[in-house]
Amino acid sequence: MSLIVSDLQCIRGDRQLFSDLSFQLHPKQLLFLEGKNGSGKTTLIRTLCGLFIADKGNILWKNQPIEEHLEVYRKALFYLGHLNAIKGDLTALENLRFNHLISGQKSNDNDLLDALERIGLFGYEDFPTRELSQGQKRRVALARLIVNKSPLWILDEPFVALDVAAVALLQQLISQHIDAGGMAILTTHQAVPLTEGEIQHINLDDFSIKSGRVVDV
């Protein structure tokens, strides 16, 4: 179970965002995508999700091209972008339940309520989310990570709009996910301390790829 990307090339308009990009992601590995604004991080992430078709190159999941086995790949994939996918007219619990089930996962309300409590929204479950703050809305979206069983997490700027406590919790969630044999791809400048596993960095400015064992933080 691993994600293998080879010779990926993306062109937007007449600007080449990246080309000949190859990397592999195996269980217990965390990948950071770095690069200045406009360097193509979000495009790369959307390409990895299958939302954007690359101009060249292959993305293999379990050694099979993702576009030929979309159902298998999408069950294994958890994606959270800049947008929270939260409806203001639904309550926190309804939002969480809908988003969780739509990604092909199963669960009961008790697990979902526990997740909301853990993410710090105890007492807000039945509030319409339009009455919550930006950070709380982000927390509703991130509560999915607690109940999610997908092996591959792709998170685009997950730490935006979160306070210190929520940042620490999210770091802990990602670290636990890697510990449990999961994989994650993040675009963020926030460090994520891991207890075990391996961290890779891909820089889209100069296409350097660094990888290394975990160092204690």
Partner: protein, 223 residues
């Protein structure tokens, strides 16, 4: 597969009921347009009966256009649509659920208020029943064909006007046969069966092609 269909259908209806004004806008638009005509053209009973089928259908077409723009726009803006595209189930099932919800919220109410048109235009009860039947067959086509336009114009500036230009010409067959059947039913020798069969054929065609076409259009719009 059916689970996700029910889930989206229930959610869309729940969302609409929490924001009822959007549902009532469509319904009142229809009623107001229909009741403006007698004020404009006079209360001649014969003439009103003549123009009733066309007026009712054109009002229905315009009313169903009103809510089309919002069919995917809200989900697009808040990121839900992105999550739907990444769902393991085929996108056409999800899209079909949204179309069904759209029809239940905007098409079905028009069928139910059709007797109001009957009263305003001095129609006989048989004609009103034909009108309800034709609206029942025709309004799902409006929702399904309209969804293709809504998906194609998603995220474009001035998308609302563009949808009308794209979709209204495609509504012409529904208008012709839908209004034709009602006019036919007022004649002694009228036979509405061909109209019913043709509209049913359009309905089946759009049932088969529209979810698939809309799903493809959404994928392009979100790329």
């Amino acid at each position: 597969m059916f689970n996700i269909f029910w889930m989206i259908l229930k959610r869309d209806i729940k969302l609409a009921l929490r924001r009822r004004s959007e549902v009532f806008t469509v319904l009142f638009f229809f009623i107001i347009v229909v009741s403006l005509f007698p004020l404009g053209v006079g209360f001649n009973e014969k003439m009103l009966q003549e123009i009733a089928p066309g007026v009712a259908w054109i009002a229905a077409l315009l009313a169903s256009m009103l809510a089309l723009e919002r069919l995917f726009a809200n989900d697009y803006v808040d990121g839900t649509l992105e999550q739907m595209l990444l769902a393991p189930q085929p996108l056409s099932i999800l899209v079909f659920a949204k179309m069904t919800a759209h029809w239940l919220l905007t098409g079905l109410p028009l069928v139910l208020v059709a007797p109001v048109v009957g009263v305003l235009y001095h129609l006989e009860s048989d004609t009103v029943i034909t009108m309800m039947l034709m609206l029942l067959l025709g309004t799902p086509i409006l929702s399904m064909v309209g969804a293709i336009g809504a998906a194609l114009t998603l995220g474009l500036r001035g998308g609302g006007v563009l949808i009308s230009l794209l979709i209204l010409p495609l509504y012409i067959p529904v208008l012709v046969y839908g209004a034709g059947a009602i006019a036919e039913s007022r004649l002694q020798s009228g036979n509405i069966e061909p109209h019913i069969l043709l509209l049913s054929a359009f309905l089946l065609l759009s049932l088969i092609f529209s979810p698939w076409a809309t799903a493809s259009a959404l994928k392009i719009s979100l790329e």
